[in-house]
Symmetry: C2
Subunit: 377 residues, 2 copies
C-alpha cells in the first residue's frame, strides 16, 4: 500500500478530528492544545461569565493577562529591562511606515538590506515617508536566493533594517551583522520564537502574530525604551511608539482576543516545549529531514534557496515542471497536506513548517513526496 | 423574597451556563448564538480542517467570507454602490489621524462638533496632523450633557466631524445636521447597527467592532469611493483609504478572525433579529423602560444626559452619593449584573445596552434598581 493509499484510508491516524496538516505561509497552524483551550472557555473566560471577547480591556483580569503575556515573552526571549513589549495592530506593513516616521524623519539616513518582497516593501515605504533610505546590500541579482554577507552601510545611518526570515524565497539570516555602528531593526514575523536570538545589537523587532504567535490582527513590537525616546515628536498618537510604551499598549482598545491567544501560545512554548532552545531543536530537526528529502531526490525536487541561506521555517522547492507542481499540490491536498503552494509571486512549492506544525506533518509530507516521485518520475 | 435574594438563589434561571448580564461599555456583550457557533467550529472552520485563525487570508473560502461580510453589511445599512466597506485595524484612534491626513492636509479647514471625550480626541488629533480644524459647536459648557443644535460651520470646510453616540456621557444624535455644504463624517462606534441611519449626507463612517460588531481589533470604515479619491496622495500605504478600497481590505493580512465574528453578528441581525428596523425597536424598548425606571424613582436615580439627547445605547445615571454608587456596583456584580460602572473619567453608573444585551438583562437591572432603592433609600 502506497503512502497515498494509506493516507486516504479511513484507518489513517495522522489527523485529529478531521484536521489537515497545515503548511500555510501565514496565517498558519496554531498548536492544537491552544485551540482546544480557546474553544473550551470561549463562552466563559476564567470564571468571568463572559467570553474573553466580551471582557473590558480595562478589567483587572484582562490587564493582568496582557501584562503576564508581556512577561512571558520577555522570559522566553531573555529580554532585559531595557526592552518593552508592545501589542500593536496594522501588521508589518504599518511598521514599514512607523519605523522611518519615528527614526529616520526628514531625510535622515537609514539602511535596508534587500532580501526579497518584504524588505523591498519596507524600503519603499521608508522612501514614501521621506526617509533617506538606502539599499546597503541586496541579493536581487540572484533572485533573492541568498542572504548577503557584504554591506555598504551609510555613515550616520540611524538604523539598519533587515528581514530575518524571507517567507517568499525561503531564506533566513543565520547570523546577523555584528559590530555595526547603527543599531539593527528586524522584521522577524516568520521566524519569531522559532529559536533563541541574540538581540544585543537590535533596538527594535516587529513580528506579525499570524505565523508563530496567534491570529492575524496583532503585531508584536519589541523596542528598547531609550531608542523609542529618540523618535520624532509630534506624530499622531498611534504612530508613535511612546504612546504604547506609556500605556502598556492600552492607549486605546488593543486586540484583546489575539493577545489572549498569544498568551496561550507563549505558555505552550514555555511549558510544553520547554523554551526556545527546545523549540529550535525541534524546528531544525523538521527542516533538516525535509531538506534531506529534497537533496536526496536525485534532482526531482530542487530547493530554491542557496544551502547556506536556507530557512528552517519556509522550505521552498520546485518539481521538474509546473504541470507536475500543480498535480503535486492537488494530490497533496487530497491527502490532507494543505497550503503547500509557493507564494503567488514566485510559484513552486513552499512548506511552511512553523512552530505549531508537528513533526508528524513533516514525516507525512516526506512520505508523500517519495510516493509522488515514484509515480511521476 | 426580594429580587436580590431570588437572584442569588440557585434556582434563578436568568443566566446561561454561568454567564453574567454584561453591561460593559466596550468590549461588550456579543450574541450568545454567535459565541456558540464560534466555539463549535473553532478547530475546523467550514470543513477546511483548520481553525478560521489558521486559514490563509488568500484562501478562496476566506476571501469569499470577507466579501460576503461586506455584502451583508451593505444590505443591512442599505448602502448603494457609491459606498465601499473596509476592514481596518487601529480603532477609532487611528481614524482620528487618518481622516485629517487624507481629507484636510496642509492646514485645510475642517469642522468638529465637540460632544465629549471622543470627539475632543478626534479634534486634537486633527490639529496634530496639521489640519485646519475648528470646533464648530460644543456642549462642553454643560459637561457635554446634550447634543448641540446650533453650529458655526467654516466656509470651505472639507468635512464636518461628529461622534454619533457618546459612550462616556450617554448622549446621542437623534437627527444629524442637514443641508450642510460640507459632507458629514462620523464615529458611529457605539451605535453602529443599532438603528437604520440615513447616510445620504455622510461620506465616511467609522466604527470600532468592540461595541456592536465583534472582538476588538477590527475597525469598520464605510466610505464613498469618490470621496476617498479626493484624499491626499503619497501617504504611507496603510494610512491611505485607497489602499484598502483597491485590495478589498487585503493589501496585507486583515484581522480575519474578527471579520469572521462580525459576519456571524451581521447574520444574527439579519436573520434572527430581522434587520435594523427591528433592532432599533428592540433597543428603543430596552432604553425606554430603563429611563422610565430612572425617571420614576423619585429622584433617587438621576439621568445625567438631557432628555432630548439621551442615548439608547449607554444609559448614564447617578445615585444620591458616591458611597451608594459603590455599593450599587458591588451588589449588582454579586447578582450577575456586570460592567455597570461609569467611564473612569466621569464615574457614576452606566448601563451599556448594546444590541447583544438581552431584554431580560434590562428587566433584571430594573428589578435590582428597585430592590436596591427600597433597601437604601
Amino acid at each position: 500500500m502506497t503512502f497515498t493509499d494509506q493516507y486516504l484510508a479511513p484507518t489513517f491516524q495522522g489527523l485529529v478530528a478531521g484536521r489537515v496538516f497545515n503548511f500555510n505561509g501565514g496565517p498558519a497552524a496554531l498548536p492544537l492544545p491552544v485551540l482546544e483551550e480557546v474553544a473550551s472557555e470561549l463562552l466563559n473566560w476564567r470564571g468571568t461569565g463572559m467570553s474573553i471577547m466580551e471582557n473590558s480591556h480595562r478589567d483587572k483580569k484582562v490587564v493582568a493577562m496582557a501584562l503576564e503575556t508581556e512577561e512571558l515573552l520577555k522570559e522566553l526571549l531573555a529580554l532585559d529591562s531595557s526592552w518593552k513589549v508592545l501589542f500593536l495592530q496594522g501588521g508589518a506593513s504599518l511598521q514599514f511606515a512607523m519605523i522611518p516616521m519615528n527614526f529616520a524623519p526628514d531625510g535622515a539616513p537609514c539602511d535596508y538590506v534587500n532580501t526579497g518582497l518584504w524588505s523591498d516593501k519596507a524600503y519603499k515605504e521608508a522612501l514614501i515617508c521621506g526617509a533617506g533610505a538606502k539599499v546597503a546590500a541586496s541579493s536581487e541579482e540572484a533572485q533573492f536566493t541568498y542572504i548577503p554577507r557584504e554591506f555598504d552601510f551609510s555613515p550616520g545611518a540611524r538604523y539598519i533594517y533587515l528581514t530575518a526570515n524571507n517567507t517568499v524565497r525561503g531564506t533566513q539570516w543565520h547570523t546577523f551583522p555584528a559590530g555595526t555602528k547603527a543599531p539593527l531593526i528586524a522584521d522577524m514575523s516568520s521566524e519569531f520564537l522559532s529559536r533563541p536570538v541574540d538581540l544585543s545589537n537590535f533596538t527594535l523587532v516587529h513580528a506579525g502574530a499570524q505565523k508563530n504567535v496567534g491570529p492575524a490582527g496583532l503585531t508584536i513590537v519589541l523596542v528598547r525604551t531609550d531608542f523609542a525616546e529618540t523618535g520624532k515628536k509630534g506624530l499622531p498618537h498611534l504612530l508613535d511608539y511612546r504612546t504604547y510604551i506609556n500605556s502598556d499598549s492600552m492607549y486605546n482598545t488593543p486586540p484583546v482576543f489575539a493577545i489572549y491567544v498569544a498568551s496561550l501560545v507563549f505558555k505552550w512554548i514555555k511549558n510544553t516545549i520547554g523554551g526556545l532552545a527546545n523549540m529550535a531543536a525541534i524546528n531544525t530537526n523538521k527542516a533538516v529531514k525535509l531538506y534531506d528529502a529534497i537533496d536526496k531526490s536525485g534532482g526531482y525536487y530542487r530547493g530554491t534557496a542557496r544551502v547556506d541561506s536556507r530557512s528552517t521555517m519556509n522550505i521552498t522547492y520546485r518539481l521538474p515542471s509546473e504541470a507536475l507542481e500543480k498535480k503535486f499540490l492537488a494530490e497533496g491536498q487530497k491527502c490532507g497536506l494543505h497550503g503547500l503552494n509557493g507564494h503567488r509571486s514566485v510559484g513552486g512549492i513552499r512548506a511552511s513548517i512553523y512552530n505549531a506544525v508537528p513533526d508528524q506533518a513533516v514525516d507525512c509530507l516526506i512520505d508523500f513526496m517519495k510516493d509522488f516521485q515514484a509515480k511521476n518520475a
